[in-house]
Every structure is written in C-alpha cells, then in structure tokens.
Subunit: 441 residues, 2 copies
Amino acid sequence: MFEVKPRTGVNRCVMQLRDKILDMLKTAKSASRALASISAKDKNRALIAMARGLMKGYRYILLRNAKDLGLARKKGLPAAMIDRLRLTEARIKEMADGLKAVAGLKDPVGEVIKEWRRPNKLLIKKVRVPIGVIGIIYESRPNVTSDCAGLCLKSGNVCILRGGSEAIHSNMAIHKVITKDLARYGIPASAVSMVDIVDRKAIDELLAAPEFVDLIIPRGGKGLIRYVAKTSRVPVIKHYEGVCHLYVDKYADIKQAVDIAYNAKVQRPGVCNAIETLLVHEDIARKFLPRAAAMLQGAGVELRGCEKTRQILKGIKKAKEEDWYAEYLDLILAVKIVKDAGEAMQFINKYGSNHSDAIVTKNRKIAEEFLKKVDSACVYHNASTRFTDGYQFGMGAEIGISTDRIHARGPMALEELCTYKYIILGSGQIRMGGGYEDAKN
Amino acid sequence: MFEVKPRTGVNRCVMQLRDKILDMLKTAKSASRALASISAKDKNRALIAMARGLMKGYRYILLRNAKDLGLARKKGLPAAMIDRLRLTEARIKEMADGLKAVAGLKDPVGEVIKEWRRPNKLLIKKVRVPIGVIGIIYESRPNVTSDCAGLCLKSGNVCILRGGSEAIHSNMAIHKVITKDLARYGIPASAVSMVDIVDRKAIDELLAAPEFVDLIIPRGGKGLIRYVAKTSRVPVIKHYEGVCHLYVDKYADIKQAVDIAYNAKVQRPGVCNAIETLLVHEDIARKFLPRAAAMLQGAGVELRGCEKTRQILKGIKKAKEEDWYAEYLDLILAVKIVKDAGEAMQFINKYGSNHSDAIVTKNRKIAEEFLKKVDSACVYHNASTRFTDGYQFGMGAEIGISTDRIHARGPMALEELCTYKYIILGSGQIRMGGGYEDAKN
C-alpha cells in the first residue's frame, strides 16, 4: 500500500507534492461516495451547467489558451502539437455541445443488468454502479478536459484529470468554469478534480495510490501510455495503438473492397481505427490491386508492398519487416499478397494490435472463420474499420478505444465506465452446510 | 515491455529460469489461440477425461502428496497448513466430481451478450470470448490445481498454474494426470501449464510478462495477494479479505436477525463471506443482543463489544480500534451499537472491505438506502452473507470472490473468466465524415 516515507531535508519538495496529491485523492475518494447517489436529474442539470460555464467563460478560456500557445511557440513545439493545443470559440462550443449530448444520454447507474431467483427464493440483482475514482492522464488537446469530466460525472465517477503541461493554463481555465456551479446540484466540486502540478512526479503519485484511485485511463502518445502501464499500481485500461488490417478475400466484391480500402485508409488517416495494412488474396490481386492503387495513390497514399505486390504495382516502395508492425497514422499503406484467408488471419494475429480488422468476401463460411479467429476488439465483415467508435456504435459518447482485454474492449462509453454490485433480497435465508463447494473453501 | 537483459556470469541462474518461463509463456500464448476455437463438445470431453485421469491416477497422486506431507512435517509447518495440504481418495474424487460438474455447465464462449442494428444497417454483435492466458498463483490446497484448470479450460483460457512450494509434488502429480489426454481432443497440453520451479523468482517472471499473460488471479493469504498486486505488471484481480458486516436495524425481526447473525458467523467462520462485525441499532439492542449473544456464545463465539454493548452484555471483552478492521476468520465477533442505519452505513464503508454486508429490517425504505449506499460487491437484505459464492449464486462454479472493482466483482465464474469482442456485419458500409465526434479524435 501507499506508504508515506519519513521526511528528510532532501525530499522536502517531493513530500509537499505528495501531501498535496494525497489530500486531493482523499477528498476525491470521499466525493465518490456522494456522487454515486446523485440522481440522474441532478447530474444532467450539472452537465448543462458545465456547458453553460464553458460558453459564458469562453473569453477567459481563450485568454488562458493564448498563454499556452505563446509558451508553446517559445519552446518551439511542433506545429501539429500547437494545432492540437489551439482552442477557438467554435471548438469551445463543440465542447459545450458534447456535454449537453452526454446530459441527454441514459444514466447507466442503477440499471439492473440481470436478475434471477434462486431455488431458495433469494432474488439476486446485478446492478450497474460507478467504478469510483478514475484518473485520466492525457496530452495536448484541452477538449479532453471537458469531455472526460462529462462522461465521468454522468457515470457517477469522480475524475482526477491530469493533462499535459503544455496545456495547463487552458485546462485549468476549463476546469474552473465547468466546476463552479456543481455544488448547486449537490455535487462536490472535487467530483471533477484536476492535478494542476506540472511536475511529472505528480503522475507517479497518482499511479501509486490504488487505495484512492480505482482506475487509470491514459490517453495520448505511445510513450505516455507505456510509461503509465509500466509504472502504475492502479489498474490501467490502455487506449493504445491501432495497427488495423483489411483483408480482401478471393471472393470479394471488388468495387466494395476498393471503396472500403479507400475509406478505411483515406477518410481520416491519423486515427487509430484507420487501416495500416492491406492483405490481398493472390487470386484476386491482379484485378483488385490496380484499381485500389489508382484510388489510393490518387488521394496521395504512399503504398509499400511485398515482393508479389511490387510485381503487380510496379515502382512502389518495398515494405520492410518493420512496416508490418507500423502504425503510420498517415497516408501510407503497407500491402501484402497472401495465399488464403488462413495466412491473412495468422498475419493479423501476429502483426496486428488487436484493435480493428476487416474482411471483404461474399463467402459466408470464410467470413465466419475470420470473425471468429481474428482476435481483435472489433472484427468487420464487408465494412470499414473506421466504425470502431463509441458514437458510430450508438453509445452516444466515447472516452476512447480500449486495446486491453480486461473490463472493457473496443469503444468505451458510459456503461464501460461502470462496474456492478449484487443486491440480494431475502426473507431470512441462511446457508446450509455440506457439499463440495463448502469443503473446498 | 519484457526485456531480456544480457547474460552475465552472476545472473546465469536467473537467466536460465527466465528463459524457461519465457519458453513456457510463449507456448501458452500460442496455445491460447488454438484453445479459443475448440468446440464446447471437445472441451467437455476433455474435462471428463481430466476427471478420469484423477480417478485412475489417485494412488500416484496420494504417493506424491505423502512426499509433500513428509517434507511439511519435517519443516514443522503448522497443523492447519498440513491439513490443507492433505489429499485423500475422497478429496480426489471430489476434485474429479468438480471437473465433471464444470463439463455440465453452459459454454460461455461465443455467447452473444448483446446485438443491435445501427441506422446504417450495420449489425453489431457483442460476443463473449476467452480472456487468453490466465496465471493463477495459489497456496497450500492442491485441489486448486484441478479446479482452476477445469474452469479455465471450459472458458477457453490457457492457465499457468503456480501453486505453493509446499504442495509441489502433489500439484505436479495432479497436473500430470489431468493433462495427459488433452491432445486427444485437439487441446494442446500447454493449455494447462504449470510452473514447476520452486524459486519464488518464477512468480516475478510471470508478473513481469504482460505480453504473454493477460490476467493474474492470486488465491491465498494476504501476504501473497499484496505481493502480487504490488509487483505485477499484468492486470490482477484480487481475491482479498472479507471484513463483512451484519447490521440489525431498529425494524428488524428479532428472530430472523438472530438466525442470520448466527449463520453468518458460525456456520463456517474461516471463510471470507462470514461476518466479522455486528452492528445493532440502539433502540433494539436491549432486546436483540442478549438473545443473539446466548446463541453465539453457546457456539463458542468470543464477543468483543463497544462501550454501549458492554453495558448490555456484561463481561465481554472490549473491542479496540483494530477490531473494527479485523478479518478474524475465527469464532470471534466484534459488536457495536449505532444510533441509526446512517451510522451503520458510514461504519461499513469505512471499516469494511467491500465484500459482503447485510441489513436485517422490515422497513423497506431503510433497506433500499442501505442496499444502494453500502459500496460492497454483495449487499443483502434479510439474508446471510454466507451466500456470496459462485455455487450459491447459481453460477455452477467459482474461481473465487473478487474484491476488486475492475472487470469482475464478487463471485467469479465462467462468464467472469471471459472478455468480449465486437463482430460487425456490413454490406459495404463506409464512414462519412464530419461532426464533433470526428473533430475530437
């Protein structure tokens, strides 16, 4: 457990930081008890108030955002990062709209997931409840602050937000305007807590406190996620990389396959559910590849092929071993010809990241095998991998895409931000002894 | 990730151990792919064959068990531990019966948990699939070997078993007889793997390999569980302590309350779902406590009370602060008088371990508040906490009682040993751009 080491002169600063975080975590933990019982109505009102806070406070937020932008320029941060950091009135309105949309979603807390009666008449109800305290560690985009605050509040969870140091003034401003009216709806302001300490040691303190924090969700670059997963003693649900595949089978409808390949690569190449590798059955390659390549290259996609692919698509770059592992997040696509669906599945299970993979085929048996054997969170038949998304799935929201296997897989929304408890209703039942089940304990 | 450090003379032994474990884990990981697709029929046949292996091999198992018992006596291990270690023909038969019972349960793999169609006609199916590779780290009781092997196999998971060093000969013998016929049913023998290295460093290797092991379940004493939780980089579901409470409300049926208190404490005091603390409303204490005390003390229960309790039950020991935190696992019960249900709930949430807690009352409103606000895996109204058990819940089996909040809470059986994937069936759907959800990514 979390042990507070004795103070020594040298560690004085670390101790002050630790004490500050510990105080915050204790307050958060006790807020989580209160928050679990707030009515859906009050939570929804609070969400609307948070949205109003953003709209009323937009000038203040932009002012603080300008400070972050200035510092970022001074530090010479890359343009893409500065762009992610930048807020505009329109972006703030979108954040507010996001909160209002979450207010309109069904409250997941208290829902009876399952209910059954035992022969001894005990009635067992499995009921959805909040997880408790969720730490969100993220980078760059300040909109994450209000998005995550909204989703956690709606699902009855206290959140501890810890954004990137480059966005600290924006994040603190957003945090200030969205929390100021919470108390009116019976919600402690600490229900939405923020770690406003730039020192990275603050993250370590968060990750070392399983008695106060129930779950950590890291959102950001691979470096951050790896660090969190490696360091944390709190359970982590990683939103890691998407090395996604499209397999075009021998029995594919070629036009459909071309459209899906194009959509899955080009429509938004910088996101985790875009494809990075195209696998093509050798019997259809000569028909399919030239048509697909024309479309893809027309959109500026760089193709990197295996030897057989390069015999069909002359002049494209050669794919190296590391290309099969790559998450380009860019207009680059690795292409490989395989001898059948079996080889495609093996390839995906070896090089993929178990995120989203698709098959295009008119052969139902082959499709069924693919859907069964490809071990990914989302497996598609005749559709684009780009649908791996909480909104597209109809969940109405999304905190991210889990690439883990425990608790939540794929799009994570309100239900996935919950756990459950059992409520057992009796009329005096007591347990009788005997049997294997008793001997075993 | 798991990095193999360069060999140096000093670390030669550690490296050999590491290599051996790594080899096992790689084999296990690849077996998990195969196992996920084995039919229910073959898994059930394999389970029956495992049971047969136990019955046929019982003399051999008893012989190896005798070796463990001899060594345990030589080492002077406590009698209770030696008793837990001891196998008999009857106990082996119970293990075999357990495997047969698991064979009779419904296969959780492939079950469609939920299915819905989107406006764009995509059909989304949420399907139960195995977690993958599960490490079970346990102590003493050799029956855990076959129990866990059976549950993991049925749920399509490869298990890596690591029992206590004091039971190693028994565990290896059980492992040998239950795995020898697996191949007949298309199941790789490595689907049930065992770490037969006594060195505790073997555990560390297991806990340091998240790329091969998907989940760790520690079963045993608090020291083991704490160590695993603290060290592991693989997700852990703890089966930790049960500091369970019974609150007897002002509106309780006194006879019912006495019966439940007696059952929850006395029927099997050494297990996690037995109560450790009795909370009594001050208005009912004078009527309830003498009757309850007579029954409990008659069964040899030592009562330790708060000041007010001791004014009613003269001569009992005083409960100290540490008593409220204690998991006695013995015929001891702490007793406290509270002024109302609110104080009882606060007390439980403070001192309890969020395992199982009960209220006895005829007042439905008070019961509902208790069931809602007590933040435990299982909360009972007018029934004994002793029902927190996979068999009693009707799950047909149990790998343990999770005291964690992520993935599984309370009794863990076949469904809880699974995760899920999404299978998405389309007819050429591609994603259109635009909207907040896209801007946000």
